[in-house]
């Protein structure tokens, strides 16, 4: 049976909701509406002249082959970040879930990197990977690898993927650990009695039972890689070399803020908005179906 709160006054519920609705309208819907409006305009940076150009900004975008390259880069980047941060976090969580001395201390240490701002994470990794300054870069060079993210797109992308994934590992770790601890010991013990070895127990019991967590994290990580890695990319590569690390969000920034092309940048934001709506919809439908297993 559905629960229903009842109010004696008809208007009271609306009044109680009003502050939240107001905040949402002012800080979310109003800017979003502005972006949509702007995406149909061609305007100079100062806003002295503006023309309504219908879908011209969108047409220009979809005609531009480099936009598809950026789209592809974004998918490769997000996929790699999500895969790397999820798999490393899962590994660490499984380890930390074991009965070891000082487990709490380990856990705490593993959570720390989450507090590091993306831009700072970028700088930290530059210190390791810069071809002139970085210790890791020197190591790679002494191994005979010509590590050169200034010109080599693959190296540059690897660099931003590493930095972005590293930052997200803690968050994933936390959720995986909670998920692991929620798995009833009895199930695992029963399997052990039936003769399943650790590896098999992990694949056939732990992983399936973790799947709601994994799926939730997958969506969160992809959204993170899409939208929150801007600072990392900006400090490490500025989207270069030759667009190799330019993601959709970085392009919005470089076209709109650095380039002053507000219309084109707004059109890109609207497309991003549609992507997020899609991702969220998928998450809700899927998670809601899978949440009871």
């Amino acid at each position: 049976m559905e629960k229903r709160a009842t109010f004696s006054n008809r208007y009271l519920p609306y009044a109680l909701l009003a502050p939240q609705i107001l905040v949402t309208l002012i800080f979310f819907y109003w800017p979003a509406a502005q972006a949509i409006r702007q995406s149909f305009m061609l305007e100079d940076a100062f806003g002295l002249s503006s023309d309504f150009v219908w879908f011209e900004n969108y047409v220009a975008l979809f005609k531009d082959p480099s936009y598809y390259q950026t789209l592809w880069t974004t998918f490769v980047f997000s996929g790699s970040v999500a895969f790397l941060s999820l798999s490393v976090a899962l590994l660490l969580a499984v380890m930390a879930d074991a009965e070891i001395r000082g487990a709490t201390a380990y856990r705490t240490f593993l959570i720390w990197p989450y507090a590091v701002a993306p831009a700072v994470a970028g700088v930290l990794w530059i210190f390791m990977l810069d071809p002139s300054l970085g210790m890791v870069a020197r190591g790679l060079k002494s191994l005979g690898l010509d590590w050169n993210p200034r010109l080599n797109g693959t190296h540059a992308l690897t660099q931003v993927v590493l930095a972005s994934a590293w930052k997200q590992i803690s968050y994933n770790f936390l959720f995986f650990l909670a998920g692991l601890q929620a798995i009833p010991r009895s199930v695992i013990e029963a399997a052990a009695i039936d003769g399943a070895r650790a590896w098999r127990r992990f694949w056939t019991i732990t992983l399936p039972l973790l799947s709601p967590t994994t799926f939730f994290l997958l969506v969160v990580n992809i959204v993170y890689a899409f939208f929150d890695t801007f600072g990392t990319i900006d400090t490490m590569t500025q989207g270069g070399p030759a667009k190799a690390t330019e993601t959709l969000v970085y392009k919005v920034y470089s076209d709109g803020r650095l380039g002053g092309d507000l219309g084109g940048s707004a059109a890109q934001s609207v497309i991003l908005m549609i992507i997020v709506i899609g991702l969220t919809a998928v998450q809700f439908r899927f998670v809601e179906r899978r949440v009871t297993y």
């Binding site: 061609l42 100079d44 806003g47 002295l48 071809p131 070399p241 030759a242 092309d261």
Partner: protein, 437 residues
């Protein structure tokens, strides 16, 4: 309620305390470190020199940040009086009629003594109309020079007092330097497109784009994909493979490779001076940019970089009067001469340059004069007066992308420069549509 009344009272007291009806002039800038101190000091000196006006400098972040802050403030109806804008933002600023007040108009209206001929044309030309009317006030100007590590040159068996003058000589020297232990980098540069496209074209008297590189109109068309530029890029690509040349990025983030001793020959801004002086643990010098001797008329003259001060529109006459006084204050010969020697910025007036020359300062510090010699060596031509292209920030990014693609071997140099021109022209046409009216 009571709190606000107290606050208002306190504010009134505060105002009364400072001075009677001082006009405040907001100056937004993007200078950090030692340069920030210069800005603050200039404002203090000006404020101490008179009582009617008070210049208030505020740091607004990097060049693009400061410019965007100014634009956003203008859109919100609360622009600063003076906004420092880097040279690549010039076209955007000057196309914003009504948003900015041209300096020549400001000086005329305020009745401040102002002789445009007193300024070095190589510097003010960049910020003036085709008719020579000064639009913005040059503040920190620099040009591109070649920094050399004299110790490294000596070690490689080269004559450090006769540094390479031409590109072929630079290539040869770099090969020797690489053989002598600079395995990762014989020579390099910061500001990739400024070095290899913009300065390169001016220095060889080649057009970057039609209509005097855009100075004569926004309907300019890029044309830097000529044979000389293609040949130069081919040379760089070839040398990149052997690491005789090694790319150091789009901005100046790679400059540390010179001061650390990794790259013994490095092209970057003359404004790099303070950094080199502070950090380089070897004997160094700044010499003119190299050129190709087979190109007729090369070397021509270089173009400037740096930033200028734009006066924003819609302010009161009293405020404009104060800004005009401040600019006159900045133009003062002694002040310019001192500023130049302390900060490394180029002097903007002829008188200041002559004064420093006469003082014998350049004999002791020849590296200081290199950029000035490059800028003033020859009467500027259509191709070397400067450049004024809309969406310049994006253009530079596009060109960098193409240079990077060529250097990484993904495209031939010719194809890369052709693409840089084609993509750039599309952007210029878009700018023309928004700015043409």
């Amino acid at each position: 309620m009571r709190l606000t009344r107290i606050a208002a009272f306190a504010a009134a007291l505060g105002y009364a305390g400072t001075a009677s009806a001082q006009t405040e002039i907001q100056w937004w800038h993007a200078m950090t470190g030692g340069n920030n101190e210069v800005v603050v000091k200039l404002a203090q000196e000006f404020n101490a020199s008179q009582t009617d006006y008070k210049v208030v400098p505020s740091y607004k972040g990097s060049y693009p940040d400061a410019m965007n802050a100014g634009i956003a403030a203008f859109r919100a109806g609360n622009a600063p009086h003076i906004l420092q804008v880097f040279e690549v933002g010039t076209a955007t600023m000057m196309s914003a009629r009504g948003a900015v007040k041209p300096v020549y108009q400001l000086m005329a209206e305020a009745g401040e003594a102002f002789d445009p001929k007193a300024y070095l044309p190589a510097i003010t030309g960049y910020y003036s109309t085709a008719k020579g009317e000064m639009l913005s006030f040059p503040f920190n100007s620099s040009s591109m020079v070649m920094w050399i590590n004299k110790d490294a040159l000596k070690k490689a068996g080269l004559n450090a007092d006769q540094p390479p003058k031409t590109w072929p000589e630079v290539f040869e020297a770099a090969k020797k330097l690489k053989a002598a232990g600079h395995a990762t980098c014989g020579f390099s540069n910061a500001w990739a497109t400024w070095a290899h496209i913009e300065q390169f074209s001016a220095w060889h008297n080649l057009p970057l784009s039609t209509k005097a590189n855009g100075l004569d109109g926004f309907d300019t068309v890029l044309q830097f994909n000529g044979p000389t530029q293609v040949k130069h890029l081919e040379n760089l690509v070839e040398l990149q493979k052997q690491k005789v040349y090694d790319y150091s990025g789009r901005t100046n983030s790679g400059e540390g490779r010179f001061t650390s001793g990794e790259c013994p020959i490095f092209l970057t801004s003359s404004g790099f001076y303070g950094n080199v002086k502070g950090n380089a643990k070897f004997d160094w010098a700044a010499v003119p940019m190299p050129y190709y001797p087979e190109v007729q008329g090369a070397p021509q003259n270089s173009i400037i970089g740096g930033a200028s001060l734009w006066v924003m529109g819609g302010k009161s006459a009293a405020e404009y009067k104060g800004i005009a006084k401040f600019f006159a204050f900045l133009s003062n010969t002694d002040r310019q001469a001192k500023l130049h020697q302390e900060s490394g910025y180029l002097p903007i007036t002829r008188a200041a340059y002559e004064k420093v020359k006469a003082s014998g300062f350049y004999e002791k510090n020849p590296s200081f004069q290199t950029a000035l010699i490059e800028l003033t060596g020859k009467e500027p031509t259509e191709n070397s007066r400067g450049l004024r292209l809309g969406n310049m920030v994006q253009l530079r990014d596009m060109w960098s992308e193409e240079l990077e693609a060529a250097l990484a071997g993904q495209k031939t140099p010719k194809a890369a420069l052709d693409a840089a021109v084609t993509r750039g022209n599309a952007l210029l046409r878009q700018f023309e549509r928004t700015a043409g009216r």
